[in-house]
Amino acid sequence: MKLRYKRLGLILGAVALVAVAIGLVLNAFQSNIVFFYTPTQIVNGEVPKETSFRIGGMVLEGSLKRQDDGLTVQFAVTDTVNVVPVTYTGILPDLFKEGKGVVAQGALDSQGRFVASNVLAKHDENYMPPEAAEALKRAKVTQSPAVQPDGSNS
């Protein structure tokens, strides 16, 4: 009998510890550990200082400008709430397009401009033929411009 209580106590203790562990994990996800930071986090100053980090979001429509040397580009990254300007010198991936997802590595300069050393294209989980995409786009324009935020994963 005594042994049984002991065992019960052990099991309850284990369950309690696991529960605490789960609590801690959930707590950690509140302030998430990230592969990249969103423009809002950057505007709020929740990003690394001194060291380089990644910014993720969508390339703002109409923001892409190429400079004369043909290599340096400027664009803006948005999460539909805030916008951060980015400059980058180098070759862009093929899938880099306005209105599409992007992840860039770099650091903020003194004017709050993000200077990227490396740009990756991040695309969404939708796959369809171009015609379907076209149709979808038209349908969206006629409705309201509720842009799907590409930067955060569904």
Partner: protein, 222 residues
């Protein structure tokens, strides 16, 4: 029931105490590995500071790994483990004591020394505190998970290297969260999330590892 825990703990601590050179060599290994990197890469202070969390955490992890075989291998070879296994005592409690002794003798000294190395790498005081804290919270998990590997590789050939291959994948999350905490603190960000995850890892392994180690020992002793 706790009597046996303390009996085993006392014995293992005493054994370690008789050979202080062993614990000292663990510390020396840590120091040497941590100072190999600046030799092998560009020793620019800014670059070094960027390295520091990664290199220090990886060095601690390797030092811990190298000392792991000691947890059970000696007892296995000389037959003491056999006697422990047929004792009328809960095996998981005994292995917990052995793992605790391993942590106290092999890993804790390294953790206590880490701020010194961190200083050499140019970490600021906040970074040093976070480094020591993350190690203090993370290394018990390493000892617990490592105990599983140490038990499983008893009597298997390939010894230390096989152990590393088994255990290192399990160490990766601890490494990411631990080093991540220091990186975050250097970047001026909060470290609470990292510490929560380290704590969760510890609690989970504290619950599961003694059971897994005991099961592993029963299997390999057959």
């Amino acid at each position: 029931m706790m009597a046996i825990f303390f009996a085993v703990l006392q014995r293992d601590l005493r054994l370690a105490w008789r050979k202080p050179a062993e614990a000292a060599t663990g510390v020396m290994f840590f120091i040497i590995v941590a100072s190999l990197f600046p030799l092998a890469v560009n020793p620019d202070p800014v670059v070094l500071r960027g390295f520091a969390p990664g290199v220090l955490w990886v060095s601690v992890l390797l030092a811990c790994l190298l000392s792991l075989p000691r947890v059970f291998a000696l007892d296995y070879v000389d037959g003491a483990l056999e006697q422990i296994m047929i004792a009328p005592q809960p095996l998981s409690l005994i292995v917990l004591a052995k793992v605790a002794a391993h942590w106290l003798t092999a890993t804790l000294p390294i953790v206590l020394l880490s701020p010194l190395l961190g200083m050499l790498y140019g970490l600021d005081s906040h970074g040093l505190i976070v480094l020591a804290g993350s190690l203090l919270l993370g290394t018990p998990t390493l000892s617990l998970l490592g105990g599983i590997g140490a038990a499983l590789t008893l009597g298997a050939r390939g010894g230390g290297v096989l152990l590393s291959v088994l255990v290192l994948p399990l160490y990766i999350p601890v490494l990411i969260f631990g080093a991540g905490a220091v990186v975050a603190s250097q970047a001026g960000l909060g470290v609470q999330a990292h510490f929560s995850l380290l704590g969760a890892c510890f609690l989970l392994s504290f619950v599961l590892a003694p059971w897994a180690i005991a099961a592993a020992l029963k299997i390999v002793m057959e």
